[in-house]
Symmetry: C2
Subunit: 373 residues, 2 copies
């Protein structure tokens, strides 16, 4: 099969998720769409019990294990339901009788996790919060007080709405650290051994929406009461190698392609260097704008994945900000508007966002400032 392509119109996509996918991955999906590897069918049309799909599933897992350096005593599973389902699944599986959950509160996503703990009647406590700092930073180590026998400590490694990101994680000793890593997984090297459980909706750095990757220390998956609904127990998915019921096969296939793409990019260290370069370029443009652009996030907590900033003045000039989004769109740059709950601008720099895209954006920002500054 050959494709002759005329005028494919692709924008620079700064969406916060679902978000940009690498062009080579999309091209491969397109190439294989009617006939995957001579099977005569699309991956979407394939039985999840076929050797072909079992291979696709195993390759996606192997790719994650390799690039994220996941040790053997951790299971890697593909769970349906979106990362938000994990706000309930984590406590259903990891709570110990009469022990509480320590939650570190850094904004919208930890608030959602907190809401499900409350709803489930699960004993918990906020072990630290930066609410008084409007979540414009993550907690500093002395601000965190942990319960020595907690069921687990919970945090969100990157906060898409607030634009903050953890760099050094709290030491939790024997208490497992559980991380919502939806928006920065695979963006930088991390030591999986520091965590008891990591979960991530795929739709930022791993693939399309519709599947959640869970990395869980195998012994912790055995904590769950066996009367928890079958599909909500991690052990079900571990035992069945993510094939207990029909999985979101096409999304898992794309995770595998994303891992192939990471390999072709030089692995996670190379991807991390590129992410550093992109963030440096964008924050540099903001900080060097003489106040025309303003990032409210404290410097040491600034996210390399989601850069939030205001335009026109420190608190943002909404008229100018609206114009920014409109002119950026006309210049072929999508997804620059901030989250509806906070306003301003938000630019997401996930792995698939190229240096070329960020350069185009910063060029646009210089020009926009010249015109409106």
């Amino acid at each position: 099969m050959t494709f002759s392509m005329i005028d494919v119109n692709r924008v620079f996509n700064f969406n916060a998720g679902p978000s940009a996918l690498p062009l080579p991955v999309l091209e491969r999906v397109r190439e294989e769409l009617l006939d995957w590897h001579g099977s005569g069918m699309s991956v979407m049309e394939m039985s999840h019990r076929s050797p072909e799909y079992e291979g696709i599933n195993a390759d996606a897992e192997a790719g994650l294990r390799k690039h994220l350096a996941i040790p053997e005593d951790y299971a890697v599973i593909f769970v349906p339901g979106g990362a938000s389902m994990q706000f309930s699944m984590v406590p259903m599986n990891l709570c110990l009788p009469e022990k509480r959950v320590d939650l570190i509160h850094t904004g919208t996503w930890t608030a959602k996790a907190l809401g499900e703990l409350t709803k489930g009647g699960i004993p918990h406590r906020i072990a630290s919060s930066t609410e008084e700092a409007k979540f414009m930073r993550v907690p500093r180590p002395p601000e965190i007080t942990l319960t020595p026998d907690a069921s687990y400590v919970y945090l969100c490694t990157n906060n898409t709405i607030e634009g903050t990101q953890w760099t050094t994680f709290p030491e939790t000793g024997m208490v497992p650290l559980v991380a919502d890593m939806s928006s920065d997984i695979a963006s930088r090297g991390i030591d999986v051994k520091k965590f008891g459980l990591i979960f991530a909706g795929a739709q930022k750095n791993l693939g399309p929406a519709g599947v959640t990757v869970v990395i869980v220390r195998r012994d912790l998956a055995e904590r769950a009461d066996k009367n928890v609904p079958t599909l909500l127990q991690y052990r079900t998915h571990i035992k069945a190698k993510s094939l207990y019921s029909t999985p979101p096969t096409f999304a898992v296939y794309i995770i595998g392609l994303m891992m192939d793409w990471m390999e072709s990019e030089g692995g996670i260290a190379a991807v991390e260097r590129q992410n550093d370069a992109k963030a440096t370029l964008l924050y540099g443009t903001i900080d060097g704008s003489g106040g025309f652009y303003h990032c409210p996030v404290e410097r040491e907590s600034r996210s390399k994945m989601n850069v939030v900033f205001r335009v026109g003045k420190a608190g943002g000039d909404e008229v100018v900000e609206k114009r920014f989004t409109q002119e950026a769109a006309l210049a072929g740059m999508a997804g620059t508007a901030g989250h509806r709950s906070v306003g301003g601008m938000r630019v997401s720099l996930y792995n698939a966002v190229t240096v070329e895209a960020v350069t185009a954006l910063t060029d646009f920002m210089h020009e926009f400032r010249r015109k409106h500054g």
Copy 2:
């Protein structure tokens, strides 16, 4: 964008699910994969909060409403987690205090639903079972005894593994009838008003795996205790129009394309006629084979979606059956082997399976019988 296609190898795909998709749908997906409607991005890369995706979501719902003739007092939602998640979600949402669930037991899928009722400690009873008939038919009306004040009556309209299908549904009066319609939704006209809730994993007649369509009478969705996890309450998805958290956007998009395809095929009545013709052709070949092919399912319960049969002799000759699958595969026909739990053959005739495919199969069956009969 244009495609020049050379030698696309497509098999006749009789998989039980995930299963064949219509070629025009796959071609449309391919055409739009890098740039959906001039947006400059794939549907996979689109924010679920964008007007573009809201339109895709609304179109998929409107298509289902039109083709399945869904009344306004029913909500139509796209729920992540696969149909198996519904085995827990249905009781979590629809159980009334101290009332029991009446379950009509017709095989593997109702057994799974039963397992989750037991696990959840939910009062229930088997209102009818054809286990003594090895599930080779569905119950006859006099065999069904219903509880007048049950929370709901539960059945599975089409049993993929046993090859049975309901044609006339039991009258449940004021008690809502809940149907797992995963494997025959959109294959024939049904009166939605007879049901309180219908759910269906998309991966047979509606699209790819990874999304479940739930059609629920709005008043029933209000039964749920508000302390049920947010994502497991139907009302959450109804209120948010399936956009509470990031939905499986690409799968929902394909549901919309499938509904467009149904329209182009002439609507559900035309699709149903075609399904009847396909089933008549295949069952006719089996019944006219002088016993070489044998369908164990009682005639009035035979599924038009999943045709199960044995080859060689009534109980099946495993050597000949293995050869059947192998020779069929060589002749470009995939997915003819029976479910691992029962053996024999199984041929699925979902909407996307063409008359041409079934004709090729029955031609092959005549030839195979000549050679091995």
